[in-house]
């Protein structure tokens, strides 16, 4: 490697770090870089300047739905794929148990309407059972289930939400994991036809059908 060769490529280094070289040029530069310690050193020196560009942008608050949508996709990746369909009919015994839970556990709810400033406003349902505060915020076709005052779970357990729609129970893709304040939330993308929302404790990764005891059951007016 002679000095002139380095000087020639050195002119391209900043453009390379800014992503401004054409693909072919970038490939040639990378081949040079492999054997040029001076360019490698310059890159290390310039690197904080390039990182500063990313960090210097005006901070924007991500939309609240982004995190929920992202985690729903992530959790759907780790959830075992159902054998046939994500929908299923409750077995008779399970249906009976779910119905019994509905009757026995629902404490009541308050219905209020708040003007969230978005189209059509939002409907808020709230209740409390087993010391857990439950709030369901319906907006448009979907809704968000908020839980508070949750106990920390054993490491091998998660909370999973379920909706019942026309007699069929469906899993909500995003699992609920309480934070340090004992709060958790999940998004229900489609609330149409849903008459009941339930939360159960399930093994890590979630289940295809409810296996644990319901800690929350909320009826939803159609």
């Amino acid at each position: 490697m002679n000095g002139n060769d380095h000087i020639r490529w050195s002119e391209d280094l900043a453009a390379y770090m800014l992503g401004a070289l054409e693909q072919r040029e970038a490939g040639e530069f990378e081949r040079h870089l492999e054997s040029c310690e001076r360019c490698q050193g310059e890159m290390r020196w310039f690197d904080p300047a390039v990182q500063t560009l990313s960090e210097s942008v005006e901070r924007q608050e991500p939309p609240p739905g982004l995190r929920a949508a992202l985690m729903a996709e992530v959790r759907a990746d780790v959830r075992p794929a159902p054998a046939k369909s994500r929908r299923w009919r409750l077995r008779p015994a399970m249906a009976f148990a779910a119905a019994a839970l509905l009757v026995a556990v629902v404490v009541g709810y308050e219905i209020g309407t708040s003007d969230s400033g978005s189209k059509g406003g939002s409907t808020v349902l709230s209740t409390q059972e087993h010391g857990i505060r439950v709030k369901m915020v319906r907006e448009g076709d979907g809704g968000t289930l908020h839980l508070a005052n949750l106990h920390q779970l054993p490491p091998d357990k998660v909370l999973e939400a379920w909706v019942r729609r026309e007699g069929t129970v469906e899993a909500v893709p995003a699992l609920l994991v309480p934070d340090r304040k004992g709060q958790a939330e999940t998004t229900i993308a489609d609330m149409s036809g849903v008459d009941t929302v339930m939360v159960t404790e399930e093994p890590q990764g979630g289940s295809e059908t409810p296996t644990g005891e319901a800690i929350v059951t909320m009826t939803v007016p159609l």
Partner: protein, 193 residues
């Protein structure tokens, strides 16, 4: 088995990445909570539209989730790697948007957006500058250096496209990029002194 959220929060980014590589949602969630704001802000800065920035950020994080094992700690921090993934996605978004066939009833504004990158003109440079987007670290640079860095890093233009846009020799464009980065780096070094 996935780690609990509390445990994941105590781990450094570099310790979270192997867990993400093993498909641990809690580790990934902590990673998003730490860097999602910066990632969305960068995406918004590049694409200039909230819905598009949301889409870009989600795609970038999903690609990290599905390829987390590819992170190489020897080549920089998790944060800088993540932000580079976001930048690449955002630039790809801009390019794919520019590559669409023009509408028959286009107006000047939509036509500008739909032209291939190489055909976008100095209007683009002017728009980015006058929109107050040259700020922060590059805001302190001489205007001609800030402009080429802004167009390259946040606009996704190559040095030859910028040269054509600004009607400058390519060597001048590359020189201004280098001088600009040197100045930013120098200020960082002074700040540490």
């Amino acid at each position: 088995m996935a780690v609990r959220r509390e445990k994941a929060e105590r781990l450094a980014d570099e310790e979270l990445m192997p867990l993400v590589g093993r498909k641990d949602p809690e580790a990934f969630e902590v990673l998003y909570d730490r860097h999602g704001g910066a990632a969305y802000s960068l995406a918004y800065r590049i694409v200039g539209d909230r819905a598009a920035a949301e889409e870009v950020t989600q795609e970038a994080f999903i690609s990290v989730w599905r390829s987390g094992a590819r992170f190489d700690a020897a080549r920089g921090s998790v944060r800088s790697w993540l932000l580079s993934v976001v930048r690449n996605r955002a630039i790809d978004f801009l390019r794919s948007k520019a590559g669409k066939a023009p509408k028959l009833d286009f107006d000047d504004e939509s036509a500008l957006e739909q032209r291939p990158a190489a055909e976008r003109t100095e209007d683009e440079a002017l728009r980015r500058e006058t929109a107050g987007e040259v700020r922060g670290a590059i805001g302190k640079l001489p205007g001609e250096q800030a402009k080429v860095i802004d167009l390259a890093y946040f606009g996704g233009f190559s040095h030859s496209e910028i040269a054509e846009m600004l009607q400058l020799p390519m060597g001048t464009v590359k020189g201004r990029m280098r001088l600009g980065l040197e100045k930013i780096r120098g200020e960082l070094a002074e700040g540490l002194a």
